[in-house]
Subunit: 662 residues, 2 copies
């Protein structure tokens, strides 16, 4: 209770540190740093003669402006026919095999991914609201959309009058379940697509609506929005899967599988379902192109003691990958067959390791029901009961995925790749900043989008470049204070010489992933800006230089980064550091450096974290200084308590501007 009231102002934080993100809080959408919507395109061709167009995988292509306009036109059409879509959706409610009174449409895909493929953007399709965080709820006569403070304005503009905008976090605004409990007569049936809710989130929802005796109905067979979407729905991505070179991965798939199997055996489990896409990619040393910014493919993986099955679309699997999987003892199965395999596992008496914070409700419930069917409910027994002298097998083990931690602790090859790609990334950034300074000093007018695209151009010339690791945050002046700012051509600002300019960007390379923020001024900053910048930098340096005993959770260090700001009554409403994958997701868990004190994961040698304190003055300016660091053991003169003492080494090498004294 106290935790709750402690940081109400911090709940809109823009960082989707995975531990929180994976515990999808249904009634209060977890926001994140980057929009997942596809980039729109420059409107004013005069100031921006050459269009650089990124497709969903981030590679650069050039398209004529006519095609771009056509695409934009389609977008606005799809916004105006919102009522038609709602009508079509409600018609499905009364179909005999469905028979529901309300339907909930979250933002998620089936894997709790931060970035998702376009075909899974169902909430955006049905509501017209394209922000990254939001939940739509449709009853027979009402439709409501929940989003957080970052998106109130955008939602107001995008939602038709059929929609009620629920400003989550504002006083008196109900949660989705509170709202459903108030607008529906008792005893209604509320439908969800069980693939789109983590098991934990679904259980929480079920509990909340049971107060009015509503039933949560799992509609396994079809997603109702997809039924409405029909032919216009984008195809599921099916880009070819590629091998991730052992020289970057450091550990071959058989070693990784063997460690995982030891963990399974140790926990008394005989199989595990991996559903987080970066975990699947990391474990198999495979990479995909299904999602912008994240080099992963849509897939589930089941690892048993004596075998493994990859569930993915056949068409993505080249003959090289097919051969590779065969050699690794991994069978290929259709993506859609995951539930039947779960059922079969239960029938065979497998003890399944389930991370219910990330595994979707469809999988967990299928396993539980099947255990009920075959073994009279013993599958429900929890780990505590199990460990109490019962023999192994046939019971679920409910624990965090062991792959999450294994992936977070980088091996030498992964660190080497991270170091190398950061040097190349730093070179691209040096070229970029030098170019930008020159242009600005020549009084060339450049928009935030043009600048971001130029950076992409420099990065794409570097060896091994694949994609941006998130949509570049390029914010001049007041835009720098919008933490999730995404400049759009046509509406974005120009980069003013007399304002602070905040640039947060990153890239995916074959050998690693980068994420770096710099804030610069091309003219004379105010004394206020100098003071704030200095204190942010002091915090950045305090964290950078921190030394701490092994087993220290990240949140212990969070205050170091804030202390200099606190001294004059300033702060920032986001965490200080998140994990970063090695040639994988730019945001990963389980560690974080944050005021989210519940995350007890210690910072371990080999983990990569960002160090990104900031300060934001609404309608005026934003400051953030971000490096990536890795955790290393230090050679301290003492080792009190026999403990190793840890610190950080920088991965990022990009100059920090010295803001000149006025």
């Amino acid at each position: 209770m106290i935790m709750h009231s402690l940081t109400p102002h911090l709940r809109n934080s823009h960082y989707c540190f995975l531990p929180k993100f994976r515990n999808f809080s249904f009634s209060f959408p977890i926001s994140h740093k980057f929009n997942f919507i596809n980039p729109n395109f420059p409107q004013n061709s005069k100031t921006y003669p050459t269009f650089i167009v990124r497709n969903s995988s981030g590679s650069i292509t050039a398209k004529p402006s006519s095609e771009l306009r056509k695409k934009r036109g389609n977008d606005s059409d799809s916004c105006s026919d919102s009522d038609q879509k709602l009508g079509d959706l409600r018609e499905l409610f009364s179909k005999p095999n469905i028979n529901i009174d309300a339907y909930i449409i979250p933002s998620q895909d089936a894997h709790q991914s931060e970035f998702i493929a376009e075909c899974y953007m169902r909430r955006a399709y049905i509501s017209g609201f394209t922000g990254s965080a939001g939940t739509a709820v449709v009853t027979k006569d009402k439709a409501a959309l929940w989003t957080d403070g970052r998106y109130f304005l955008q939602a107001e503009q995008q939602l038709s009058s059929s929609w009620i905008l629920m400003r989550a976090g504002n006083m008196g605004v109900p949660t989705t379940s509170e709202w459903l409990n108030s607008v529906l007569a008792p005893g209604c049936r509320i439908g969800i697509d069980p693939f789109l809710f983590s098991s934990d989130a679904a259980e929480e929802l079920k509990e909340a609506i049971s107060k009015r005796k509503h039933e949560l109905v799992y509609l396994y067979d079809c997603n109702l929005v997809d039924e409405v979407w029909k032919a216009s729905r984008p195809k599921a991505p099916n880009k070819p899967i590629r091998l991730h070179d052992l020289k970057y991965a450091g550990l071959d798939v058989s070693s990784k599988l063997s460690s995982l199997r030891s963990e399974l055996a140790g926990a008394g489990a005989s199989a595990i379902v991996i559903s987080m896409l970066d975990e699947v990619a990391w474990l198999l040393n495979l990479r995909g192109k299904d999602i912008p910014h994240s080099p992963v493919m849509y897939a589930y993986l089941i690892v048993e003691i004596d075998g493994a099955k990859l569930f993915t679309d056949n068409s993505k699997v080249t003959s090289e990958v097919m051969e590779y999987l065969k050699n690794a003892g991994i069978d290929l199965c259709p993506y859609e067959s995951i539930l039947s395999e779960i059922e079969s596992l239960a029938e065979r008496g497998a003890g399944l390791w389930l991370d219910t914070s990330s595994i979707n409700a469809a999988i967990v419930n299928t396993y539980r029901s099947a255990c009920d069917k075959y073994f009279s409910g013993r599958g429900y027994q929890n780990e505590i009961e199990r460990s109490n002298g019962e023999s192994s097998g046939r019971y679920a083990v409910y624990r965090s995925s062991p792959v999450s931690l294994a992936k977070a602790v980088k091996n030498d090859a992964e660190l080497e790749g991270m170091r190398n790609c950061h040097l190349r990334d730093g070179a691209a950034l040096a070229q970029f900043w030098s170019w930008l300074e020159e242009e600005i000093l020549k009084d060339v007018v450049l928009t935030e989008v043009q600048v971001a695209d130029k950076l992409l151009e420099f990065r794409s010339m570097q060896d091994g470049f694949l994609d941006t690791s998130f949509d570049t945050i390029s914010g001049s002046g007041a835009n720098g204070a919008i933490i999730h700012y995404k400049p759009e051509p046509g509406t974005c600002s120009i980069v003013h010489a007399d304002k602070l300019f905040l640039l947060d960007s990153g890239a995916q390379y074959h050998d690693g992933t980068t994420d770096v923020t710099r804030t610069v001024h091309f003219g004379e900053p105010s004394s206020r800006q100098r003071e704030c910048f200095t204190r942010v930098l002091q915090g950045h340096i305090a964290l950078d230089q921190a030394v701490f005993p092994e087993n220290t959770p990240g949140f212990v260090l969070d205050a170091f980064a804030r202390s200099a700001l606190w001294k004059i009554g300033l702060d920032y409403r986001h965490g200080t550091g998140h994990g970063v994958g090695a040639a994988l997701n730019v945001h990963e868990g389980p560690q974080s450096i944050s005021f989210r004190f519940g995350n007890m994961t210690p910072l371990l040698k080999g983990m990569v974290v960002s160090n990104e304190p900031g300060y934001y003055e609404d309608h005026s300016f934003g400051i953030r200084i971000e490096n990536l660091l890795f955790v290393k053991e230090l050679d301290t003169p003492n080792n009190y308590g026999g403990h190793a003492y840890l610190g950080f080494e920088k991965l990022t090498f990009v100059p920090i501007q010295e803001i000149r004294q006025g």
Copy 2:
């Protein structure tokens, strides 16, 4: 789980921050800073011609050495007859109304007090082990005593061969319940005195032993150790209760009761049981002399919406206090009648607010059984169920005591008293340090005990002095590294001019409570000592100067106090700050500044905390620098997020020695 493995080395910490202390961890005795055993007396009358003898209330009397020797003789006798006591105890096991196979004897009294009256030191009596932390378990053929690393040596010396010493925290040492599960045949009856276990601790124990189908038997009617102890058992303390002047309390009893009653009503409860002795004293503006160091009396208090009852020994209540209670609408009841009143409350349908982490199992179980009896078990319903639209009354509300937080946030009068007594205390300490320096430089040989007693002499000359607030920790050289060190006459060291000397002491005054530590060197400290002292002081200053937003839990600041030590691989194995009562217990919750990250209580304006980082080099030296501070709102140039920013103001005014450069 991670929390557990994170800080195994920290579990022997010496600070009994109340939030942890109150959640008495049965299998692993929570240690605390100060022994509760009565002081022994100097042996060598040559070096210590005048005996200063403190009685249990801390006032000073002089006794002839013959009487002292007699007392010591008795002590050793009582150690040798341990087997006889065990035999007598086991004989009681088979009595028809008892019929148990094992009996557990914890250190606690019925109120989870840190310091307890001698008549309640049952574990010390039965086992002969007098350390502050320990649990004795006696079966029909075995006897075992659990204590932690601080007391292994002492326990080895004090336990007879009939006892197995369980070195808690060492590899492979079972918990009490694990041991009982292993040595008893399944289905045994394990007896406890339910007054001596918090309800939470008893439930945990019950759960743990149920694995072998043992039954936990609550023996309400008698404490078996008391039965063995018989006539030689010290009488229950019955010192007169006195009024705590309103000019120190700041708020009269009717205002306090009225606030409490509002909280009860708000929570839907109609009555509350207060069992923590400092909470009873604070709420009623009364003080007692039942326990050394703590100005409290043994009592329970029940506050109902329309009345209140104080359960205490009539003989402690002077006519003045009787009149006072009558005016405040508080009825006086015998201490022993608490359970019958609880039963009567349940019968009358009262909804009882119970803090099960501090209220003993006897009370909680009596209430539950009575609710079962009168209302078919509805008393079991927990708060969540209750709040769900049910009408109030007749159900327990399980929450932390609201008095704990109210007491921790000092009002202006309390802060004024704390400020004033700290100035007088500082004057006494200044006299003392000046005296000590002079004596040492004159080469006078002084023992740690003599020095502590001289300090007591200076303090006792100050207005309003009542008692020490804990046994003075006076440690020269290596003794300073023993965090719980209590010098004993005869065995204690002299205060060497060429060693670091650590002195941690405090006092109870009519208007407040003090706690201060200084570490000094009368000669030339080594460069190692200088470095460590400097870093401890840097940590002390970092915390002293910290600024933080309102609603920050104390643990967020803990790392500030350690950072300078961490930089060279050093640390200390205790928390950095605890709450302190105003003319009450020297240790109070709910706030703390500690690596115990679970304590989410924010530091609130008006709270008093200690700031006491340290460093301890085993067998060599110890350093600790401690001030008391209170939390105040700062006038920062900004108030980001609309929040108040808080900091500390010093209560303690005692010079910190500048350790000279060599």
